[in-house]
Amino acid sequence: MYSMNQALYLKKIRREKKIISIIQLFIFIMFIAIWEVLARFNFINSFLFSSPSMVIKTLVSLHNSNDLYQHIFITIYETVISFSLATIIGLIIASLFWWNNFIAKIVEPYLTILNSLPKVALGPIIIIWVGANSNSIILMALLISTFITIINLHDSFTNYDEIKIKLLKSFQASKVDIFFKAILRGSLPNIISALKINVSLSLIGVIMGELLVSQKGIGYLIMYGSQVFNLNLIITSIILLGLISYIMYYLICYIEKKIVQ
């Protein structure tokens, strides 16, 4: 089937993949082991730096008190809502701007200001206006991710291959046709990369919001941990957060693969 050299080549690629996985796993295990050892033998203060075994204990106790899943769920829920809303709103407004370039030109400086403004500064106002609840957290996350989505997608729409648009126009295509048959479909890679950015931005917004107001969620756990000086809880929450964001990012990549096929 293959020539000898082709087989060797494939083998080499597979080998490299395997070695990378092994080293990745090794780093992870070493990190955990060294951390645990340092804490056990009091090289580091486990009250301040926690330890893997204490993280697991914390997880178990959260699990036993049934709080764990509620906190995880609420954070994921808020992230998914704000991330989907940001993408949809961004898509609609970017399309509108593409449709009417005049409006886009007028709005541009305002959009730039809103996008570069550190949204955390708006936190206190949002809480006063919307209330100390889930809605203000979602709004916070929305503010962080929507403007950049609008800017990126509008950019992608306006820079679409002109010669393809010319082709469509030579068939007397309407603007609607041009948008749906070329621009939107052609911008799919950019839309997906906007999704990827939005996952992490929404999560940032949600955690920021939860730190400020909430009664539930991973951000709340971190805030609560710092108030009662329970660093085990804080570190456990951060590890959970890392896992959640990694899984969400991975899901988008999975969806991307499906769509590309």
Binding site: K166, F171, R185
Partner: protein
């Protein structure tokens, strides 16, 4: 041969912030049915502008374009690049024009499939453009244009993205298809040999603003395919005359 289009005193200016650019001045042409007209001229002289006006991409111009029939003839436009959409199959790419002009019927779809099969793309109907060679993609682009059954075909440097060997083969291929389907053609190119080997009539334009400098009726002995035509003894003669007309200096 009957006339199908008469262009009179076409004139087009572009407006930019730097000033007004006169692209075309006083361009007149009578197009007869079945004719293969080639427009040559120095690069940037406004050749493509003329095609853009003819196919309706540019609405603002002076002068008149008259058609010798009651309804406006259908005009097909083929661009420099094949511009196939990578997410559409070959068939769906070929159907794009029909889809947009809202005349996609079962019958027309069948006709398009027949065209694809007739010109050697039958096995690729459900493939995506990325799996086709440059020449085949250009053939799909031509069939996409032919699918709307145009009375006049406009070809805008249709081979300029192909390497020089492919260019010969593809221009031969495209020429055969066009003659087979008995289409009237206006083609723009900067390649003189290509122009002489394909044209019935060559219009030589001046530098911008484009005006007609000379018109040649190409009469070759033993007219055949473009590649064969290059061997005709009159070929070099035409080449020399047109080259002189173009008056190109580095």
């Amino acid at each position: 041969m009957t006339n199908i289009m008469t262009i009179k005193n076409l004139k087009k200016n572009y407006h930019t912030l730097e000033g007004e650019i006169e692209a075309v001045r006083d361009f007149s042409l009578v197009v007869k049915k079945g004719e293969f007209i080639v427009i040559v001229g120095p690069s940037g002289c406004g050749k493509s502008t003329i095609l853009s006006i003819l196919c309706g991409l540019e609405n603002k111009y002076d002068g008149s374009i008259e058609y010798n029939s009651n309804n406006k003839p259908v005009i097909g436009y083929m661009l420099q690049q094949d511009t196939l959409f990578p997410w559409r199959t070959i068939l769906n790419n070929a159907l794009l024009g029909l889809e947009i002009t809202k005349q996609l019927t079962k019958e027309k779809k069948k006709n398009t499939i027949n065209l694809l099969e007739k010109y050697g793309l039958g096995d690729f109907i459900n493939h995506y453009p990325s799996s086709l060679s440059g020449g085949m993609r250009q053939r799909v682009a031509l069939i996409r244009t032919l699918a709307i059954n145009p009375d006049i075909l406009l070809l805008d440097e249709p081979f300029s993205y192909l390497d020089s060997q492919m260019r010969l083969a593809v221009s031969d291929d495209v020429y055969k298809i066009i003659k087979n389907e008995k289409k009237t053609v206006i083609m723009v190119t900067h390649d003189l040999a290509e122009a002489i080997s394909m044209a019935d009539k060559i219009i030589v334009l001046t530098k911008r603003p484009a005006k007609i400098k000379n018109i040649y009726n190409i009469n070759l002995n033993n007219r055949g395919s473009p590649i064969e035509n290059r061997k005709a003894k009159e070929f070099a003669n035409y080449y020399e005359k047109i080259w002189k007309d173009l008056d190109i200096h580095v």
